[in-house]
């Protein structure tokens, strides 16, 4: 009895800020009893770059390249959230072709983000090969982005009221080819991962996020859909042109790590279908066709498919130096790969935004982590934390 009291049962272990599987610089102060986690305290802020403060000293256009860096894995979504918010303050209308270009790039971005998640998740569990296979596919998507925007990661492609450039020639054909190739690659991952008994053993019934807990903590995106809550801003559509496209929202029931994996794989397949559908019905067709028809059209009709408003890239071209939206405020919400990104912009009528507030999904995911890993084995930290798909720059902003 006496001996038992003198032995210190609990051990405090410091996971991070530099640790192979914290996906950046997250620090978790954990109290372990043997290998069982008794208590966790996440410490964030190591990547805080003051994105919200930076906005106050920069004009709307100066801030535009910076929003890409809020979440480097889904840059297009952050830019879209900011653009939608500023557009609704300034009352800019976005042409349909621009919306379609945004949609196609965003869905490709979703696939590349999920691919990187699959890679890092499996690496956390100890399987190395899927990392390289996933990066091979991601490379092709990134190459497409590079041809379109000129950069591989920080695109700075969206602008207020549309997009900056049209597709280069032959881009859509390449994209369609890639779309045809993708499902086969997903089949290969599934052959390696999905029914692997060790993978199932590691992830099934691990980190169960009940719908009540998820909603209480404000978890969004694939994490909450894996728990069976039908929450997808794309359907019913609240932004962009998703209402013109047929697609399904994939749900799972248990809300464990395995279900989160299944939902993300299904989402990637669905995204491929969305892209194929969108490329088919993009107003104006391929850039080559559009260019040719535009020269001969000259009809001046507002509803013309080739020279009207809907085939433009930007509605009213905003002057980059003196862009001044009227005073007002707006909140935009975008369904990013990790959940709902929302951007709250207040304008006071000057060239600089008065206040920009970012609501990022990973912030909530890190917050719910202590609940999920309580009383679990230390080894379960990786399947749970990895499956939540946290990107640390997004948490700290």
């Amino acid at each position: 009895m006496v001996l038992e009291n003198t032995i210190q049962k609990e051990m405090i272990i410091n996971v991070g800020p530099q640790h192979p599987s914290t996906h950046g610089v997250l620090r978790l102060i954990m109290t372990l009893e043997g290998e069982v986690i008794k208590d966790t305290k996440p410490v964030i802020g190591y990547l805080h770059r003051g994105k919200e403060k930076l906005a106050e000293s920069r004009t709307y256009f100066q801030y535009l390249p910076m929003v890409d860096r809020v979440d480097y894995l889904s840059s297009f979504f952050c830019a879209a959230a900011y653009c939608y918010a500023v557009e609704s303050i300034a009352g800019l209308k976005v042409p349909k072709r621009a919306e379609y270009i945004r949609l196609i790039t965003m869905e490709f971005n979703r696939i590349s983000s999920h691919l990187l998640w699959v890679a890092s998740f499996l690496l956390d569990l100890g399987a190395t090969s899927p990392l390289f296979y996933a990066f091979r596919e991601r490379e092709e998507i990134v190459n497409l982005f590079e041809q379109l925007t000129g950069q591989r990661m920080m695109y700075n492609f969206y602008t207020f009221g549309g997009v900056k450039q049209d597709f280069p020639e032959g881009w859509l054909t390449k994209a369609l080819d890639l779309c045809k190739k993708m499902p086969k690659m997903f089949d290969e991952y599934e052959a390696i991962i999905t029914k692997n008994p060790i993978f199932i053993e590691r992830t099934k019934n691990i980190g169960v996020l009940t719908p009540e807990l998820g909603i209480d903590y404000g978890i969004t995106g694939a994490n909450i859909r894996a728990s069976g809550v039908n929450l997808d801003l794309r359907k019913p559509c609240s932004y962009s042109v998703y209402d013109e496209i047929n697609f399904n929202v994939h749900l799972a029931e248990n809300g464990d790590s395995y279900d989160r994996y299944l939902v993300r794989i299904a989402e990637m397949r669905e995204s491929v279908k969305i892209i194929e559908h969108a490329i088919k019905q993009i107003p104006g067709g391929t850039p080559e066709k559009l260019k040719m028809k535009k020269v001969n059209c000259n009809c001046g009709n507002e509803n013309c498919g080739y020279c009207g408003f809907d085939s433009q890239l930007t509605g009213k071209k905003a002057n980059m130096v003196v862009f001044k939206p009227p005073a007002g405020e707006a909140i935009s919400m975008v369904e990013a790969p990790r959940g709902i990104i929302s951007c709250y912009v207040i304008s006071d009528g000057t060239t600089k935004p008065y206040r920009v507030k970012w609501r990022t999904p990973s912030f909530s995911s890190v917050q719910v982590l202590p609940e999920l890993i309580k009383n679990r084995n230390y080894s379960d930290l990786m399947p749970i934390f990895g499956s939540l798909d946290v990107v640390l720059p997004e948490v700290d902003r």
């Binding site: 256009f61 535009l64 390249p65 590079e146 041809q147 000129g150 950069q151 052959a191 390696i192 029914k195």
Partner: protein
Amino acid sequence: MKKLINKTFSGIIEIARGMFTIGKHAFRPAITLEYPEKKQVFNSRIRGRLALTTNKDGELNCIGCMSCTKVCPCGDLIQIETSKGENNKPVINKFTIDIGRCIFCGNCTQVCPKDAIIMTEEYELADYSRESLVFDIDKLKISPEKSDQRLKQRERDN
């Protein structure tokens, strides 16, 4: 008991299937790009190092309107000093870009009314000191032929 045997056999089959899929990759060509020897071929939209274009006489196209300094997100990254020369023509005395702080967003090239500042495909910019990354006119200027070629390419893209 029956369940256990079933689980064992399905487990063995699934692991074998996974190993077979991995094994297939051994016969596929490697995706590695051996960097210093082989370099990735970029297309014309690539946003690399900034450069100043010149007209046929070898003079800068820049008129010193300072638009690029106003849209640059990095503050005082581009520094221009102008003075008025003969016939009210602006003369650029100083044009420096701190490439070490540039984030290659391309805002300055879009806002430029004369296509005086463009982006080249050069991307290997590492150097030993920060001071040597501050490029002045001599380093930024590209030849008339090259700027002509780049501008034509840009026109074709849009």
